[in-house]
């Protein structure tokens, strides 16, 4: 696939690096017990969020899972607000009430951070449905893991969006495992695009380790979505780290992991940009440095953040409080 224009290509690489640096930082901060609760990292999967979200307009909506840090960052939530959220600070994008699994941001139309597997698919359908009914052509993008496809919510949502022509882009991040359960032990039909196509919507498989392939596929899919139809994309990918910080990661062979690491989307795309002379080594190093600085600042911001007063505990249960 042809490279996007140089500036776009550089941004794609830079943004994958930003996600990577942020998440590696999160892992350290978890060890330091600055971040708590569940922490799910998408290291290795950065090309998907990056390629897709770079095709979005500011008023498009994104609905994510608990493995959503990168998606939030690229949709425009600041690293500061994300990091503060994981620190449980009032300055966090969810006021410290959500944590890693529940990043939210109304300004950038980032609808979570949803932690019931499959539970956010109907929600995404509803957002798309509202746009359709109100005659707006903006898009809604819903990310989810391949594990979600066994849930009844997947089935019900696909049928509804297909029947009603609801403009949503469904992005399956197929990293081959749902925690320790491999795809072939959880799905009778392991070709997920075929499975989705059974609902009568356009569906195809994309190399999720190649940001250009993702970027191109997203453009094509979004053209259909903006014209008012749902699309399903399966992105084949792999997480280089364990499911969460609690996972000893004993169910995958070292060889399998190492094999996939040779396809590291940042590595391979960086090499390509050098090969095609869009960026040199120093240019790439600068991207890493800049991301490092951004995340240093984010950590400092989070550290300096304040705690929501305990007296405010019961706020935000209802928007309209009853006296």
């Amino acid at each position: 696939m042809r490279l996007p224009p140089p500036d776009v290509s550089r941004t794609l690489l830079g943004d994958m690096i930003r996600i990577r640096v942020m998440e590696e930082r999160c892992a350290e901060l978890y060890q330091q017990t600055k971040i708590r609760g569940f922490l799910h990292l998408a290291v290795g999967e950065e090309a998907i969020a990056t390629g897709v979200i770079h095709q979005l307009d500011p008023d498009d909506a994104v609905v994510g899972t608990y493995r959503e840090h990168g998606h939030a960052l690229l949709k425009g939530v600041t690293a500061n607000a994300i990091m503060a959220e994981m620190f449980g600070k009032a300055e966090g994008c969810s006021g410290g009430r959500g944590g890693s699994m529940h990043l939210f941001d109304a300004a950038t139309r980032f609808y979570g951070g949803n932690a019931i597997v499959g539970g956010h698919l109907p929600l995404a359908a509803g957002l798309g449905f509202a746009d359709k009914m109100l005659g707006r052509s903006r898009a809604t993008v819903c990310f989810f893991g391949e594990g979600a496809m066994a849930e009844g919510e997947f089935h019900e949502t696909m049928n509804l969006v297909s029947l009603w022509d609801v403009p949503v882009l469904f992005c399956c991040e197929n990293n081959l495992y749902a925690m320790g359960t491999s795809l072939e032990t959880s799905e009778a039909e392991t070709n997920l695009a075929v499975k989705a196509a059974g609902y009568g919507l356009p569906a195809w498989t994309v190399d999720g380790m190649d940001v250009v392939a993702v970027y191109d596929a997203a453009a094509r899919a979004l053209a259909t979505v903006r014209a008012g139809e749902p699309v399903f994309l399966e992105f084949r990918t792999y997480r280089f780290r364990a499911h969460s910080m609690f996972d000893p990661d004993l169910y995958r062979s070292r060889e399998e992991i190492e094999e996939w690491k040779t396809r590291d989307p940042i590595l391979t795309f960086g090499e390509r940009l050098q090969r095609e002379e869009v960026l040199d080594e120093a240019g790439i190093a600068r991207l890493w440095d800049r991301a490092g600085e951004e995340m240093d600042e984010a950590v400092a911001f989070a550290e300096a953040g304040t705690l929501e007063p305990v007296d405010n505990l019961e706020r935000h249960v209802y928007r309209r409080e009853v006296a």
Binding site: A61, S94, G112, G119, L123, A124, T157, L160, R320, V322
Partner: protein
């Protein structure tokens, strides 16, 4: 005051809502040309068209979730889950999404959805079609739960619920649809307060939804026996209007709660607990609970009748708290 059926009152409320605000739409199983299982939406499809009065496939989790998302997207969805029995399939969406979104997002995303459902037993529909699970919903912070028991509330609660920025679950007792009552057409009502439907100083009887009418019948019967019962229609099951209840209890010092739910862990327990907490030193007797017996509701009429709270039991409970 005009006489109207509960069904028509709901119908008129829905029609008004659709007329007033383009963002309102109705979605549910057979709500369109069929007119709803209980004929509540009859004619609305013809008047407002298939986009705004929408039949869904049998997919309770999917379409309730879609309604929640649509509310987040700027619409005002009225989602009809045919009955509470099927709402079990949608509970994850209601509890884990609708009820949590505002809080999890630090106050950014409210969910102005209205979810209507029929509830209750009394029509010989047996164990899978006779639940009264209002108490489950009333347990969940983030939800508002209302139960219109009168035609006036059936007519006016909906508009208030739709204006509410938070998710509102509305329970309609299935035996009420064909009943008639006098409509107070002075317009919108609140969805927060309980209402004293009948005044009396000897004993307070609290009901909601389908049990309000049993409470009123019992009060009538008690009057013959020389007992003046005050009847409170709870109306809002979450939040519970303590002020109205406690004002009554402070006069009567005796309470009977009538709850079609099973006794153990039902809403009657919450009412008994909070009344006792607030009025312990005034109460002349423990709060009495008249509830459903703890069985899956059986089909046979005589067994179903025996399983559900009945007027004579309410009368007996009132006499008991009055000291026999």
């Amino acid at each position: 005051m005009t006489e109207i059926t509960y069904r028509d009152a709901l119908h008129d409320a829905l029609e008004e809502a659709l007329s007033k605000d383009e963002r309102v739409f109705i979605m549910g199983e057979d709500v369109a040309d069929y007119g709803g299982t209980y004929a509540v939406t009859k004619g609305l499809y013809e008047k407002f068209g298939r986009h705004r009065v929408r039949n869904t496939p049998l997919s309770e989790s999917g379409f309730v979730g879609l309604g929640i998302g649509a509310a987040l997207g700027g619409l005002k969805p009225i989602v009809e889950v045919m009955t509470v029995n099927f709402s079990l399939l949608a509970l994850d969406q209601i509890v884990n999404t609708a009820a949590t979104f505002l809080h999890m997002s630090g106050g950014q995303f409210n969910v102005p959805v209205v979810i209507r459902m029929a509830t209750g037993a009394g029509r010989q529909l047996a164990a899978q079609h006779s639940h009264s699970l209002e108490c489950w919903f009333a347990h969940v912070p983030g939800l508002r739960v209302v139960a219109p028991a009168t035609v006036t509330d059936a007519r006016w609660m909906l508009a208030t619920a739709l204006d509410d920025p938070d998710p509102v679950v509305m329970f309609e007792h299935a035996t009420l649809y064909p009943t008639t009552g006098d409509l107070d057409d002075s317009g919108p009502v609140d969805i927060d307060t309980a209402r004293v439907l009948r005044s009396g100083s000897d004993v307070t009887i609290i009901g909601w939804g389908g049990t309000v009418h049993k409470a009123l019948s019992a009060a009538g019967e008690l009057q013959h026996q020389g007992v003046e019962a005050e009847v409170i229609d709870l109306r809002s099951l979450r939040p519970i209007d303590d002020a109205t209840i406690m004002a009554s209890v402070s006069q009567t010092n005796r309470v009977v709660v009538v709850d079609e739910g099973w006794r153990s862990g039902g809403l009657s327990a919450e009412l008994a607990a909070r009344i006792t907490e607030a009025a312990f030193y005034h109460l002349d007797a423990p709060v009495a609970r008249v509830c459903s017996r703890e069985v899956p509701i059986p089909y046979a009429k005589h067994l179903e009748d025996a399983a559900l709270p009945q007027v004579d039991e309410v009368v007996a409970a009132a006499r008991e708290v009055l000291g026999g």
